[in-house]
């Protein structure tokens, strides 16, 4: 490694190390917080697996799956958001803008309406997300041109269509089911197990996305420029679309529609001056995961024993954080803010 590449690598590595530390801290706080007080000793005992008192059971059976689900979902959404922003060449795009979440919600609500179990619910949500993703892909493809505008318009209109279907399903649902439906729509982590498949999708997707980091960097300068610099733009864009949609579909399947993480996390990192997608994407995954773990910890403790949908908390935590960064960053990036 050369000297210059070396310093860039060191800076990137130290940032990622810091975010990793943040993720570990967030996870520890999440594991030790809840209606049953647990300290370091309980945590260590639970993690070593040789304790079967209540505290350990709560940590391993309740809090650990939920923490893992929160982290995975946040990381999936933040990565998908960063990819979607490059794809649509719009720093304000989020993972849901093209209707993937609407399809998932329709599938999930139908499963709830017919009283199907959790597994069916997950399957229906994922199926709905995939259906929406392919629908937008095919419709935007149309006559062959696949411009950002056409894709965005198609996605937004399809999302609006799903919105109508969701409202219809809510209107015809019996009252007793409405509460869980609304919670699902707002993003809810209370019914998740350890998301093994989700973590697999996250890792695989992240590796692929980071491998495409340099072409992604170049794509931010415009499609024509990217093509002239040797990027096979149509193939790359289709790949990003499918990858971002798949990550979003997985996140929505795990935890419903959790808003805001996918929009603000990548944008926050950009405001902090991070631009190279080879670093930005893993950083977004770590920060998104940590943010959602913190938000979920708050969601289940602020009004305990009542639990809030985590989507409310992501906005409550994210909005002020984002505004502070925007305010702070306006001198450094005047034209951008």
């Amino acid at each position: 490694m050369t000297a210059v590449g070396g310093t860039r690598m060191i800076r990137a590595t130290s940032l990622l190390a810091f975010l990793m530390l943040l993720a570990v801290c967030a996870a520890l706080i999440s594991l030790m917080t809840g209606s049953i007080e647990s300290g370091w000793r309980d945590l260590l005992a639970a993690l070593s697996g040789n304790s079967d008192d209540t505290a350990a059971v709560v940590i391993m059976e309740l809090r650990w799956p939920r923490t893992a689900a929160a982290f995975t979902t946040g990381a999936l959404l933040a990565t998908a958001g960063a990819l979607m922003q490059v794809l649509l060449r719009n720093p304000l795009a989020d993972p849901y803008v093209l209707g993937v979440s609407g399809g998932a919600a329709t599938g999930a609500l139908l499963a709830m309406l017919y009283g199907l179990g959790t597994l069916w619910l997950h399957g229906a949500a994922f199926g709905g997300a995939l259906l929406s993703m392919l629908l937008v892909f095919a419709l935007a493809h149309g006559s062959g041109s696949w411009s950002s505008h056409r894709l965005l318009l198609t996605g937004v209109v399809v999302a609006a269509g799903w919105g109508a279907v969701i409202s219809f399903l809510l209107a015809v649902s019996p009252d007793q089911g409405l509460r869980s439906m609304l919670f699902w729509l707002m993003g809810d982590l209370s019914f998740t197990g350890i998301p093994r498949a989700g973590a697999g999708v996250l890792l695989g997707g992240l590796v692929l996305a980071v491998a495409l980091g340099r072409p992604l960097n170049i794509l931010t300068h415009g499609e024509q420029t990217a093509a002239a610099l040797g990027v096979t733009v149509p193939v790359l864009r289709r790949f990003i679309y499918l990858l971002a949609s798949l990550l979003t579909a997985t996140a929505v399947t795990v935890a419903g529609n959790i808003g805001f993480v996918g929009l603000i996390v990548p944008h926050m990192l950009r405001l902090l001056g991070l631009r190279d997608h080879r670093v930005l994407l893993p950083a977004a995954a770590l920060l998104g995961g940590s943010l959602l773990v913190i938000a979920d910890t708050l969601a289940r403790t602020v009004l305990a024993p009542r639990q809030l949908p985590v989507g409310i908390l992501t906005a409550l935590v994210g909005v002020p954080l984002f505004l502070a960064l925007l305010w702070h960053g306006r001198d450094r990036h005047p034209a951008q803010a």
Binding site: T2, A3, V4, G5, R8, M9, Q85, V86, R89, N90, P91, A211, R214, P215, N217, I218, T220, H221, G222, Q224, T225, A227, A228, L229, G230, V231, T232, V233, R270, R275, D276, R278, R332, H333, P334, A335, Q336
Partner: protein, 255 residues
């Protein structure tokens, strides 16, 4: 061997013919200028030569291979484009932007090396932007952004440099400096230029081959003396022109 060869090329944009049956051969050391009215399709033709716009008919060959069958990355090592406009949707520093020029030369997972960085810095110095490396691109003036585009092209270091109105936004001093710089680059190591330009005086100063697009599919090409006559140019621009002979060469002014 020609750097780029066009055979029986038909190009159109939005149903309007740009050229019909165009045969063009860009040789190392050539400095081509594409002239035509607004909307005659100069930019479209330039994009076609770069393989970014498909011709209706005919073939483009690079080193004897059809351009359409070559991977984009391989094309980008041979042909570089300076576009008419720059679209920066995301913040990026001047140095990061100029480094994008190295993309075609790097392996898929390779990071930019110190040698790439040195090339980038050298190019920035050549266009007088050395002091602005850490500036956000969106804070640059029009002329500075233009010079950054030229520096990126120099960093890409292709054999054929396709320039779409390179003098846009540049003051007189920078127009001459940048075209001198690009001309020197093209004259070295078997390279060539192809420039879309409106300024006839800069065109005659920097180019030795001319391609006139009349906007109806007909074209005319050749050396300065063969093509750049009063009657041809008046027909091209549909405007009366006066030629003034000066010690540095002919000057054209609209009548």
């Amino acid at each position: 061997m020609a750097l780029l060869q066009a055979q029986h090329l038909d190009v159109s944009v939005a149903g309007i013919p740009v050229c019909r049956d165009l045969v063009l051969q860009i040789e190392p050391g050539d400095s081509w200028c594409i002239l035509g009215r607004n909307g005659a399709g100069k930019t479209t033709l330039l994009h076609t030569l770069a393989g970014l716009h498909a011709p209706d008919r005919g073939t483009l060959t690079l080193d004897g291979t059809s351009l359409a069958t070559l991977p984009r990355k391989r094309i980008a090592r041979h042909i570089g484009v300076l576009f008419q406009d720059h679209h920066d949707a995301f913040p990026a520093t001047v140095l990061e932007t100029v480094l994008t020029g190295r993309h075609p030369w790097l392996g898929p997972l390779q990071w930019e090396t110190a040698a790439d960085l040195a090339l980038a810095r050298e190019a920035l110095a050549a266009v007088d932007l050395a002091g602005l490396q850490q500036r956000n691109v969106s804070t640059l003036s029009g002329g500075e952004r233009r010079r950054l585009g030229i520096a990126t092209l120099l960093t890409q270091d292709p054999y054929l440099l396709l320039l779409d109105e390179p003098a846009n936004h540049l003051d007189i001093h920078q127009q001459v400096r940048m075209l001198d710089l690009l001309g020197q680059r093209a004259a070295s190591g078997g390279r060539a230029l192809c420039i879309v330009m409106h300024d006839l005086n800069l065109a005659t100063r920097y180019c030795d081959r001319f391609l006139l697009l009349f906007g109806d599919g007909t074209t005319l090409q050749g050396t300065h003396d063969a093509v750049m006559t009063e009657s041809n140019l008046e027909r091209l621009y549909r405007h009366p022109l006066r030629r003034i002979d000066h010690a540095n060469g002919p000057l054209w002014i609209p009548a």
